[in-house]
């Protein structure tokens, strides 16, 4: 029996072991991918900023580029080992690869695309395999269409069916940058999960959107500048404070020092004292304000940075009630500056925050410098970063 060969569930050995080092040099810039991780059957999200090395990693696994050093093993099949000088060519690796731009063959119809990788099967069996995979991904009605005649979501299903028809050992899925709408995508991912319930292969899914990590992944590997900075369940990994970088800060008009006052594990939140200079629990002289933030892996007393986008802050002239936001902070409007049609209000709530308003909001609320206002900030609009 097959099942006896494998250790019991939970202890199952890795479906893929991947260790890769690859240095890329272009002009004066150089980049090094240096990563080691294992994959279990099921969906693992590969997450990282653009330029973190996600595509390079997929290309190394697929054999489209050759790592300088490393070892790639699927189940017990070694497809790359720099020490033993093993490097199977792409066509022998049995990898399903859904490219970011899908790369469907434009001169072949949907059925021919799906059958591309299973030419070695006999006629009847090939038909049956293609039919079965087309049914799994609900594209049987499209089989005789050309890729140019079908929608983006359908094309992605075809690319998926084509990649899986060859019965691969691993599926590499590079999410297209042109976002599909959420229902379309989640329906497709449900079909992929259903297919994988029977096949149990590891799926490495490159996501560009933070929300997808929670929605799609059972596991997540976070890549930063070519290195793995975290691996685990989405919740455990994504709540780790991120490294503060210029690029990430670019989006936040309000950045402050924050000190964790208390954590509330059960509610998934914590309290932070926020100030323009370094504040801590004992400092009462320096201006500061306490806010509720999402829970990250940090002890009370830990020093972090918090970023709040000016567009994420609501402004009210009276204290709102019956509202979900937890941070409702009284303050005084100090100044307003207008850039084109966006008005930036500076509000003093102990610390000074920039708040984006529309001209209509200013007029209907009758705002002027000196007005008493309330700021409303959702817990999840407070982005924590490591100091």
């Amino acid at each position: 029996m097959m099942s006896e060969k494998f250790p019991p569930a939970g202890l199952s050995r890795a479906a893929a072991d991947i260790r890769v080092r690859k240095r890329l040099v272009s002009g004066e810039r150089s980049f090094e991918l240096n990563i080691s991780f294992s994959l279990q059957p099921g969906i693992t999200i590969l997450f990282g900023a653009s330029g973190a090395g996600k595509s390079t990693l997929l290309e190394c696994i697929a054999g489209l580029i050759t790592p300088d050093e490393g070892r790639i093993v699927f189940a017990d099949r070694t497809i790359f080992d720099s020490e033993e000088k093993i490097s199977l060519p792409s066509q022998k690796r049995r990898i399903g690869y859904v490219f970011q731009d899908l790369a469907l063959f434009p001169h072949l119809n949907v059925l021919e695309n799906i059958q591309y990788g299973i030419r070695n099967l006999r006629g009847k069996e090939r038909e049956r395999t293609a039919q079965a995979i087309a049914e799994s991904f609900r594209i049987t009605k499209l089989l005789h269409h050309n890729p140019s005649q079908i929608s983006g979501g359908e094309r992605q299903r075809v690319a998926l069916a084509r990649a899986l028809a060859v019965d691969p050992c691993i599926l590499l899925l590079d999410e297209p940058l042109t976002a599909l709408d959420v229902p379309t995508k989640s329906a497709m991912m449900d079909d992929l999960r259903a297919w994988n319930a029977a096949h149990k292969i590891p799926v490495l899914y490159v996501a560009h959107n933070r929300d997808e990590v929670f929605a799609l992944g059972e596991q997540v590997v976070v890549l930063d500048e070519g290195r793995k900075i975290a691996q685990g369940t989405p919740h455990a990994v994504m709540t780790v404070p991120r490294q503060e970088k210029i690029a990430q800060l670019a989006g936040f008009e309000n950045i402050f020092n924050a000190t964790v006052i208390a954590t509330n594990e059960a509610r998934g939140t914590m309290s932070c004292r926020v100030g323009e200079t370094n504040v801590d629990q004992t400092s009462v002289n320096q201006p500061s304000v306490d806010i509720e933030t999402p829970l990250v892996h940090a002890e009370a007393g830990a020093k972090l940075r918090v970023g709040i986008s000016a567009g994420d802050i609501l402004l009210a002239t009276a204290k709102p009630s019956g509202i979900s936001a937890q941070n409702i902070l009284p303050g005084k409007l100090i100044a307003m500056t207008q850039q084109d049609v966006i008005l930036t209000a500076t509000v003093d709530i102990g610390i000074r925050l920039a708040v984006h308003l529309t001209l209509a909001a200013r007029d209907s609320l009758g705002l002027r410098p000196g007005s008493d206002v309330w700021l409303i900030v959702k817990t999840h609009s407070c982005h924590l970063m490591a100091e």
Binding site: L64, Q91, F99, A163
Partner: protein, 224 residues
């Protein structure tokens, strides 16, 4: 009008473009995909006939095909005659002379095939040859037709190389361009005009066809 010269020319051009279609594909593949650092040298060799005076090319070919070169001597020993001043000598000369007109459109067409499609083909288990046959060739049809037609048209009108290595033997090496020259030499302007007009029209039709398929491969070319 001398139909003998006309059909000889058509036969020559047809043979040459078929040979170039077969021989040009691997060369063009190599030109399009090789990452060899000295590749540009071989690309220059392939392109030489575009800039070289046909007499220069013809002269070296004549030497190479004649009994003084090892190749010519070997051919003489095997067959008992030299390749110079024969139809097959003309074929060899024309193949070399028209090489860039086949290879360059082929290579340009291969080059525009999206690399992602080649990567996709490889991950789906296809060998390099299989990818060439099943992806690169079908997506390069307009370029292949262009190369075929251009090498045909170019061979149709060649003069210098033919004169150098083929001479002017009726039914063997006398092509239409030689025929025109002959008629003009003999002050038969009317006969020269007839042949020249045919060559002009044929060339125009062929080139229109080439530009037509490259403007919109779907418009003139019936299949996708």
């Amino acid at each position: 009008m001398d139909w003998q010269a006309f059909f000889l020319t058509i036969r020559l051009a047809m043979l040459v473009s078929v040979i170039l279609l077969v021989a040009g594909l691997p060369i063009a593949y190599w030109v399009a995909y090789s990452r060899w650092r000295w590749k540009f040298l071989l690309e220059s060799v392939v392109a030489l006939p575009i800039v070289l005076p046909p007499t220069v090319l013809g002269f070296y070919l004549l030497v190479a095909l004649g009994p003084r070169s090892p190749v010519g001597r070997w051919w003489l020993e095997v067959t008992g005659h030299t390749l110079a001043f024969t139809f097959w000598g003309l074929v060899i000369g024309s193949v070399i002379y028209s090489l860039p007109f086949a290879v360059q459109p082929f290579a340009a067409a291969f080059h525009t095939v999206d690399r992602r499609l080649l990567a996709a083909s490889a991950t789906l288990g296809a060998s390099k040859f299989s990818t060439f046959r099943r992806v690169i060739i079908p997506l390069s049809i307009p370029g292949l037709v262009t190369g075929f037609v251009l090498s045909f048209a170019h061979t149709l009108g060649e003069f210098g190389v033919v004169l150098m290595i083929g001479g002017n033997i009726a039914g063997v090496t006398r092509t239409v361009s030689i025929e025109i020259y002959d008629q003009v030499e003999a002050f038969n302007y009317s006969a020269a005009n007839h042949i020249a007009l045919v060559l002009l029209i044929v060339s125009f039709v062929l080139l229109s066809f080439v530009y037509g398929i490259n403007r919109n491969s779907g418009a003139v070319w019936p299949w996708k």
